[in-house]
């Protein structure tokens, strides 16, 4: 009897695993691998080239040496509207220290409509037009807003899903600014955070 129960449980688990892997493989065939799933801390941020609202091509790797706040959002996402003015403030406050906020609009709206919305939100940072590929590369971004904090070394320090707390967002920005940049090195396998000092937001590594 005990053996039968074990067999049933094993079968149950096996079927779940098959269904889950089938779903993953189906998605893999359509879009390629999902890179940033699960715990993303310490993982090199996947590079991308996206078109900005003003028509320029923007590469994430062009921002190496800066701390990047990468925010996925959409015009139909009401919680996203709350964060965007905060990000604009943070860009203004910490931009001179090396912060680069990048918005990725996961939107079917036309660029004009996205630009109008961003302007109404006071956005003062580049807004890029999102693609399925960048969504998949960042772990199949389904919930919006989703924000990645990337250190100067190109490594993801943290990921925040859903509307965050402003103080928590600012803490993550400070952590990103406090990372070490090695100009000629590849993205580090693990984030290297400088010890926090009294004036931790000032960067001297550039």
């Amino acid at each position: 009897m005990k053996r039968n129960a074990l067999v049933f449980v094993a079968l149950f688990v096996a079927i779940l695993a098959m269904l889950a892997s089938g779903k993953y493989l189906d998605r893999y065939r359509k879009h390629g691998p999902l890179n940033l799933v699960g715990d993303v801390k310490g993982v090199p941020a996947p590079d991308f080239t996206l078109v900005s609202l003003d028509g320029n091509k923007v590469k994430l790797s062009d921002y190496r040496g800066k701390a990047v706040l990468l925010n996925f959002w959409a015009t139909w996402c009401s919680p996203c509207k709350v964060e965007m003015p905060w990000f604009a403030d943070l860009q203004k406050q910490y931009g001179p220290d090396g912060l680069a906020v990048l918005g990725i609009a996961m939107d079917d709206s036309k660029p004009d409509a996205i630009a109008k919305f961003a302007s109404e939100m006071g956005v003062n940072y580049p807004v890029l037009l999102g693609t399925d590929k960048v969504s998949d590369d960042y772990g199949d971004v389904q919930y919006l807003p989703t924000t990645f904090y990337i250190g100067r070394n190109g490594v993801v320090l943290d990921k925040m899903v859903g509307l965050g707390d402003r103080a928590e967002i600012e803490d993550n920005v400070k952590k990103s600014l406090n990372t070490v940049y090695r100009p000629n090195g590849p993205p580090q396998a693990e984030a290297q955070v400088k010890p926090t000092t009294k004036d931790s937001s000032k960067d001297t590594s550039r």
Binding site: F8, I15, L16, L19, W76, S78, Y143
Partner: protein, 159 residues
Amino acid sequence: MRRGFLLGALLLASMAWAQMMNDQSPVVMAPIGNVQVRAGGSKSLSLDFRVGSEYHINSHTPKSPLLIPTVLKLTPPAQVTLADMKYPSGQDMSFPFSPDEKLSVYSGDFSIETVIKAPAGTALGSYPVRGELRFQACDHSACYPPRSIPVQFQVTVVK
């Protein structure tokens, strides 16, 4: 024999559960039985939906053109027509992410009404009506991309 039955039941149950976990929708539709309508007559039909307890979706008439409305699209066969689709009014609600803003939403149960008509002389028989409900859901702190769920029922034209 008994063991085989148990094993089969367990297999089916686990597959159904796994499928459900893989494809949880914030909105589900209540099943509709066979809808009967007389040839030359009409019948009102209520399509009932349930929004999961932690979610809300935009109503058919959200307060901003940027918000994605809930829309039911049905494609009837040539033998019957659908008319007078009526959406419920949205509830004006505010949420923790924006306490000062009211959004027009559906939450909990809501129904969309329509009328099925079978012209006189319609061949008696059973006809499928297919379509989809498109909506965009959010919870208290995040939003999901717009998605659709299938809507399907059978209309039987009788004398």
